[in-house]
């Protein structure tokens, strides 16, 4: 079985993100380049948006 892979651009860093037929709307996907969590906003066509993030402050 082959699935068609669609390449979409990460909205944060512009990296290629691969989605396929099994991808669902609302699914969360990590961008491997910038590590951001992306939400599949729509599936036909595929669009991504940045997933809401909890604030975190380890910083200092």
């Amino acid at each position: 079985m082959t699935t068609t892979v669609t390449v979409v651009e990460c909205v944060v860093c512009g990296a290629d993100v691969e989605l396929d037929g099994t991808t669902l709307q609302g699914e969360l996907i990590d961008c491997d380049d910038c590590g951001c969590e992306l939400e599949v906003a729509s599936v036909a066509p595929f669009t991504l948006r940045e997933a809401p993030q909890e604030a975190e402050d380890w910083g200092q």
Binding site: D57, W58, G59, Q60
Partner: protein, 348 residues
């Protein structure tokens, strides 16, 4: 003269502990209460083991606080403002070490703290706690908002040049290196030793909150706007700002010496540190641990109009508790250096 009676709220924390250490040796002060919810009823030395055998005082909870002459607030961001009326009711004079009342401009607060200020009505009441800039106002102050630690180092480093009007006020780049005690005494993933040790963590390349107070204080001649970043290093105490300013006129190093000497020649706690040789040509925070000094040095770039200003402090002293005691001394008419004479160690 009878002793001034002071209480310290948030006394189990790092700035609070430092205040206790200083005030226990202050000849005109009596500490009446020190609060901690976690340690209520326990010896103060339980939280601050350096004070073993030095004091038998115990923590109380905030709920048990009595009236006093001067109240010090050493609480996490937001707490002082939230419970202000309660605290203000306890003492005619309040010295707040948090960021809650440092700004005067609600919009700046909203921008940097991502929140509406809970008590904008109070913002005008506070004197900003850096004596080198506000000594006269401090004499009569009833409310003091101590400066941020990184802000203190940066402002004291740059103020003379900004006041003299000799720099491009919006071109300055400031790089601060800070120790781990800046973040207080609560453990978190980021403070876990195997991760935090040996680190060079760029925790705030842009957007640091202290920028608001820095720009306000440096806007003497013209509207100032600094480019700021902060990096955490493997150090517990100390903060050092390396600031790059650009002159708007031709000056020699001797000219700059004069500007700094004019500003700080009579200051008890600012030293100009600039030597041609030796190992300590410029300020070093390790020499300042436990002291109330801000050391300031500079070097003019011979091949450009840049001056590099180096300024260092102990964040828990000149950057918070020491600054608070200096403010107390000024407010109460005590000798300004009282309880702040410790000169620091070498080697260290």
């Amino acid at each position: 003269m009878s002793d001034v009676r002071v209480a310290i709220v948030g006394g189990s924390g790092y700035t609070g502990g430092e205040l206790v250490r200083l005030l226990l040796f202050h000849p005109h002060v009596q500490i009446t209460q020190i609060t901690s919810e976690r340690f209520a009823g326990k010896l103060v030395a339980k939280a601050h083991p350096n004070l073993r055998g030095v004091t038998k005082l115990k923590f109380t909870s905030v709920a048990q606080l009595d009236a006093c002459d001067v109240l010090f607030l050493c609480l996490p961001h937001g707490e002082a403002a939230k419970n202000w009326d309660r605290y203000a009711g306890l003492a005619p004079r309040v010295i707040d070490l948090s960021a809650d009342f440092r700004l005067r401009d609600e919009a700046a607060y909203r921008f940097y703290y991502h929140n509406n200020h809970p008590r904008p009505d109070l913002l005008a009441d506070f004197v900003y706690g850096i004596p080198e800039l506000h000594r006269e106002a401090l004499r009569d102050a009833r409310r003091v908002a101590c400066a941020g630690c990184n802000a203190t180092a940066t402002i004291l480093g740059l103020f003379p040049l900004y006041r003299a009007g000799v720099v491009l006020p919006q071109n300055t780049v400031v790089e601060v290196k800070v120790g781990s005690s800046e973040a207080g005494n609560r453990a978190n993933e980021g403070s876990h030793h195997p991760e935090r040790a040996g680190c060079l963590r760029s925790f705030s390349p842009t957007g640091h909150r202290h920028v608001a107070e820095i720009n306000r204080e440096l806007s003497v001649a013209d509207k100032a706007s600094v480019h700021f970043s902060a990096t955490a290093i493997d150090m517990v105490r100390g903060a050092m700002a390396t600031s790059h300013v650009f002159l708007n006129q031709s000056l020699t190093e001797k000219d700059i010496w004069k500007i700094y000497r004019d500003a700080y020649g009579n200051e008890p706690f600012v030293r100009i540190v600039k030597e041609r040789d030796g190992l300590y040509r410029f300020p070093e925070p390790k020499l300042l641990a436990g002291t109330n000094y801000c050391d300031v040095g500079f070097e003019k770039d011979p091949s450009s109009d840049r001056v590099v200003v180096i300024s260092a402090i102990d964040n828990l002293m000149k950057g918070s508790a020491g600054q608070a005691v200096q403010a107390l001394n000024i407010m109460m008419g005590f000798e300004e250096t009282t309880a702040l004479a410790f000169p620091g160690l070498h080697p260290v």
